[in-house]
Each structure stands twice: as C-alpha cells, then as structure tokens.
Amino acid sequence: MPREVDHRAVRPYADHLGDGLVQMSFTLPVPYSLAARKAALELAAKMGFQEPEVIHYEQLTEGYTYFVMYGRCVQSVDFDALQGEGFDIEYMTEDEIERFAEEHLGRNVVVVGASTGSDTHSVGIDAMLNLKGYHGHHGLEGYRFFKTYNLGSQVPNSVLLAKAIEVGADAILVSQTVTQQNLHVQNLTELVEMVEAEGRRGDMILACGGPRVSNELAKELGYDAGFSKGTEPHHLATFIVRELAARVAATG
C-alpha cells in the first residue's frame, strides 16, 4: 500500500521512506591513510550517524585528506510543530502594501540602507531600495509611501547610524555579503551595539540581509528580521509596514 509520511517524526529520505541517508563531505587535517578513513568513520559516528560509509577519500596535500561520506541519521524532527508556529509568511503585493501603509500608518515610512564596513557588495541593498528593484519588482524607492536613502557600499556603521538619526528613519537596512570568518556577524553586531548605545533601539526597525543572513541569525544578533537570497523588495516592505503597524497598535 502507498506509504504515509509521518510529519511528526521526519527524517532524511533518499531511497526509501525513513532511510535517513545524509551525504556529507569534509576534510580532516590528517595524512591520507586507512587510519584517516577510520577517523572519518569515527567522527561520523560521533555525529550520531549509523552505518557511516566513506564512498570517496583522497589526499589534498600532505597531511590533509578529503572525504565524501554517507550515513543514516536516526534523529527526527517534528514538522507539524514547526508548522504550528505559523512560520510561513504571506507577502503582500506592492499595491496591497501601499494600501496597508495608507490605512494603518497614514504617513511616509523613512528607511536608510547601506552595505556596511569594508563590504563593497551593493547589488543586494540596491535590489531592495533602488527603483529598478529585483526580479521585476520595484525597490522601495518606487513605493509612494516610502522615503528611501541608499548610502551605497563600504559605509561605516557610524555613518549609517548618523544618517538614520538625521532623517528620523523608521528603519535601518543593512546588507552584508562578505562573511568569511564571520565578518558579517561582527559588522552587524557592532551596529546593534551602536544603536543601543545611542538609546535608539526602540525607535527604529533594524533589518539586515545577505546571502548568508537568515531570519534566525538576525534575531540572534538583535535585529528585528533578516532576509536571505531570493528576497524581493515587497517581502521587506511587507515586513516593515506590518511591524510598524503593530508598533503603532501596541503604543496605542
């Protein structure tokens, strides 16, 4: 009989429901040898994999061995519980956002954005803010109810914050693309700390984005939201107007 997926206990699926197969690859700083292979198997076992298997390994350079492995993950996740969290967001269209802003806010929303630190990648923040936008969707500049300031790239956090204060921004928008050694985490944390030091954290929405930024990471760092690859301007705009409306409602 056709088999049923139990969403309360989901595990990886490769060939048969519940087989738990996960593909892995990594390098160990050990010489290429059978002992290296054994080390990889032991490590996978420590990660909790059953029947770990090395399907390929080779020397990268003396003392470094690369592995491709498979293993059976025995853990499972309760997917129903995650859905219960109402995790999936419905985005409004540009028109809906304009109407929502008119109705719930009745004023312009001021946003200031930049790619900060030594990061010269501006394509992401431009995609969000500039009229041209992204994937055929206008950037916030194109919305009637938004007033946008795009400071470009390589902008020190201090300059970004000063501008935000100067123009009375409702939201600061930060883009981070260079992430090696967690540079983005460093830059993003610095900004939050500055905003807090200025006593402005309550006054404005802080949102960040970039290919390796996630909503989870953003929240962990003290932002209100984080946006990753595939974000379109109206996703951001939806978030901003809803959040502002909620704040208006909360403060009466």
Binding site: P2, D15, H16, Q23, V68
Partner: protein, 518 residues
C-alpha cells in the same frame, strides 16, 4: 549532411552484412517456440492472475499443455479448440485449468481451420482492444505534448512500487520525459512474471502488471496536472521478454528496453532462447508503436570503450536489422550507445563526439538511446557530475533521440531521489545553453573526429563481414561483444525452448506481421 565524411559504400556494405547475419539468425531460431512466447500469447488473450501458490495463470496454462506434450502446436491451438468446445474465454479456461477442472488436451479437437479462425478472431479482438487504449494514449500524448528530442530518460529503482511513484514524480517535476521502471535484480532469471503490486525488490522493482498500472496511473495523473506527457518504460529482458511486452501493451507503456544480447551476455541466458523471445517481444512492441532500446552501451562497461567501439557499431547494424525483421520501424528503434571512454584519455571528448555523431549518421531515423558515463565513475560526486556535463553536451550537439541521464552517485548507488533531479538540472542546463551547437560547428576535414569515426566504421565493417561468416552465435562464442563468451548450447532457460510441430500456430504473429496497428 554528413559531418563525418563517411564512405557510403562502407555503410552500404555494413547494412548488407547485417542483413545476411539477421537472415541466418532467423534460420537458426526457426522451428522453435518458447514457454514465455506461448505465455505471452495467453497474456495478449487477456489471461491474468495467479493461483493459490502464486503461480501466474499464464504459466499454469502453458505448463499444463507442455507437460502433456502439446506445446509443439502452440498454446493458441489448444485455447482456440477449448473456446470452441466450451465457449469459455481464455481467462475462464485458465482458471478452470488452474482449478484442476479442465484438461485442455483431453477435449475433443475441432477441425484445424475452425480452431484457427476462432482463436484468430479472439486475438484480433484483443489487439483491437489494446490498440484502442493506445489510440487514447496517443491522443493524450498529443494533447499534453510529448517532450522534444533528446528525450530525458530516467530510471527509478527503489524496489517498492509506491516509492517508485514518489521518485517518478520528482523525475517528472525535474523535467524527465521518460520514467523507466528498473526491475529487481532477481527477476531476469525467473521464468515467470510475478503477480500483483510489490514492495520488495533490489536494484529495481519487479515488473508486474499491477506495478505497471500503478506507475501508469501516477504518471498519467502527474501529466494531466502539469500539462506535459510523461512516458513510461520498462525492461523486456530476461526469461520473459515477450510476456513483459504483452503486459506493457495492456498498460500503455511507451518505451521498452528490448535486447536479448544483454540477457545472453550478462545474465547467461541461452542464445537461442533469448533470440526467439526477442523476436516476438519486438513484434509486440513494434506493433503498438512502442519505442525499443537496445543495449550496446553495456559492452563498454566490460570491454574498453576505445577498442570496443567497432563492436558497438557492428552490433547496432545487427540489432537494427533484427528489429526491422520483427516489424519495428526505424522511428521506434532506439539503438544503444554510451559515453564510456576512460577519463584520463587525452581528447576523450573528441572520440566520444565522433562515436555519437557516427551513430546518428548511420541511423538517422532511429531515436538513438545514449547512455551516461558509469564505468569510470566513483564516489567523487563532483567528478561524475563534470563528466555528465560533457556527456550532456555531446548528446545535444549530436542530436541523440533519447538520453539516459547521468547522476552524481552513478558510481555508488541506485540514485537517491535528489540525485536524479541534480542530474536532470545538469541536462536542462546543457541542452539549453548548447541548444544549437550541433548546427553551429563543423569538424575539420581529416581531423581527429572524422578520422576516428571513419576508423570505427571501418572496424565495424570488418567485424560484420567476419560475423557474416561465423554467424552471430559464433561471434558471441568468440567474445565479440563486451569481452563475454557464451555458447549456443548452454545458458539459462534452454529447457524452455520447444520445437514446433507442423501444425504450430501463433495467431498474433500472423496478425502483427503487417506493420503496426495504427
């Protein structure tokens, strides 16, 4: 227009040799039938089901006649007679035999012409019934739109038909045009086709009529929902080639891998048994417009791809002629070919290109089935994916008819659900990016590619002339294909060959001989 500057004289000589070889084969297998050929007659007549011991009724029926020494006349003779004597349908007769209530050979025998007429009209009715289903299917294919060549052919092989459905949906969504339900590794050597839906198999899912139906329904549903027709394929191979062709006919399978040589070389099936089964099997496929695929690609998995290239081409000529002789038109003959040159060979891509282009030019109207690199693939998933990219490039640049997609895990696993999708993405990317490359480029006159193609053709010609002397059976014994040697009087299933008697009669052969149903 030839890109390879082939000598038409050599090509013509190859075809002539192949014709002679095929004629010899026809003579060597004449005067014989097999248990499975006879069972496929019962299947086409609608016999289905299994007894309490799970023996399929076609086996019950054919064994019943065989044990009583009557199979030399053909099962159709006995069924025809029984239909006259009892007015039961073949299915009812099979059930009665199975229940031990009827002995077909104990019935009074009607006049031969009457028997022929009765059973032939029954056969014709069944063919019309199946043909009508195929008409509907063709209409559906036309309505939803069939993929453009090269068609993307993808295997599913979980062993559990319900898992296969899930995998097949992912294949369809990933752009697959043909889903091939690979068979469990144990099935080839069974001299019967299991009955009912199955959820346990290894390296594949048992080819049963119920499994065919489940897959067909699932893919028809997907096709309707998504507005693109997905074809189904399976394997007419092993000891039940012709029966599976019959089952596929009932269930509307669009394609079938069909090549006795594979079973002979790699499953140790007896040569004669294989070729008799193949003839009927291809006849059925041919009649219903099913595209068949031959298995020359396999040779390159056990013999060296550079050296064995002429044997592939020679085999294509022979297989092509054998298929034509079974009534399969060019448009349904998907000859086999593969991209299997060892990776470190310098200019390997040029040799592959030459071979692929050669096959296309020799059989311009055949939807050649091109197979991905597998032999030299290993657990370095990225290495395999890179080889598949060049394979995909050659496929589109040479305009193959059908392409079995390569997957990153080719060297290790029957593919995991996402591996096929990754493979299909690679295909989609390359087919699009290099869409008109074949049209754009010309090969240098006398360059590496042209020279290689001409050499392979010359080698094939030499081989064909030799085989025309030794006969195909001799050539197989000489390990001409895949470096594997098999003897004519050995191999599995030999006991299932039955000499026909003067009154032997297979109405389907008569009915289907005249080209296709359409």
């Amino acid at each position: 227009m030839s890109k390879l500057d082939l000598d038409p004289g050599v090509v013509a000589a190859c075809r002539q040799a192949a014709t002679r070889i095929a004629e010899q084969v026809a003579e060597q297998i004449a005067g014989r039938t097999t248990l499975s050929v006879e069972r496929s007659v019962t299947r086409l007549l609608g016999v289905d089901g299994a007894n309490a011991l799970e023996v399929p009724l076609p086996n019950v029926l054919v064994d019943h006649v065989h044990e009583r020494g009557g199979l030399g006349r053909g099962i159709a003779y006995w069924l025809g007679n029984a239909m006259i004597q009892t007015t039961s349908s073949p299915q009812q007769l099979a059930e009665a035999v199975s229940a031990g209530e009827l002995d077909l050979l104990a019935l009074q025998e009607a006049e031969e012409p009457a028997i022929h007429e009765r059973v032939t009209s029954e056969c014709a009715a069944r063919l019309r019934e199946i043909a009508q289903r195929f008409d509907e299917r063709r209409a559906m294919r036309e309505r939803l739109g069939d993929g453009a060549a090269p068609l993307r052919y993808v295997l599913t092989a979980t062993g559990d038909v319900y898992e296969d459905v899930v995998h097949a949906r992912a294949v369809a969504e990933g752009g697959g045009d043909i889903v091939a339900v690979i068979r469990s590794t144990a099935q080839s050597l069974l001299d019967y086709v299991p009955y009912g839906p199955t959820t346990e198999g290894y390296g594949g899912t048992f080819a049963t009529q119920a499994n065919f139906r489940i897959m067909r329904e699932a893919m028809d549903e997907w096709s309707e929902q998504h507005g693109r027709y997905v074809r189904l394929s399976s394997f007419c191979s092993g000891l039940c080639m012709s029966e599976i062709a019959a089952m596929g006919a009932w269930e509307g399978f669009d394609n079938m891998v069909n090549d006795a040589l594979y079973g002979i070389l790699y499953r140790d099936i007896n040569i004669v048994r294989g070729l008799i089964d193949q003839r009927i099997s291809r006849m059925i496929n041919g009649y219903f417009g099913v595209v068949i695929n031959t298995g020359e690609d396999n040779y390159l998995r056990t013999a060296d791809a550079i050296e064995a290239a002429p044997s592939v081409t020679a085999s294509q000529f022979i297989n092509h002629q054998l298929a034509l002789d079974s009534g399969v038109p060019d448009s349904q003959i998907g000859l086999g070919d593969a991209f299997e040159i060892d990776v470190p060979v310098k200019n390997g891509l040029l040799y592959e290109w030459a071979q692929a282009q050669l096959t296309r030019e020799l059989f311009p109207d055949c939807p050649v089935k091109y197979m991905p690199p597998t032999r030299h693939m290993d657990g370095n998933l990225f290495r395999t994916h890179a080889a598949d990219t060049l394979f995909n490039l050659v496929t589109i640049a040479t305009g193959q008819g059908i392409q079995t997609i390569g997957v990153p895990t080719e060297g290790i696993f029957t593919p995991h659900i996402h591996d096929r999708v990754l493979g299909l993405q690679n295909v989609g990317y390359v087919f699009n990016a290099a869409h008109d490359l074949g049209e754009e480029i010309e090969f240098k006159r006398g360059g590496i590619i042209q020279t290689r193609a001409q050499q392979v053709l010359a080698g094939a010609h030499e081989l064909l002339e030799r085989i025309a002397q030794t006969g195909l059976f001799g050539a197989i014994e000489d390990a001409t294909f895949g470096d594997v040697s098999r003897k004519q009087d050995e191999g599995r299933g030999i006991e299932g060959i039955v000499s026909t008697e003067p009154g032997y009669f297979n109405p389907f052969v008569e009915l289907m001989r005249e080209a296709s149903y359409a």
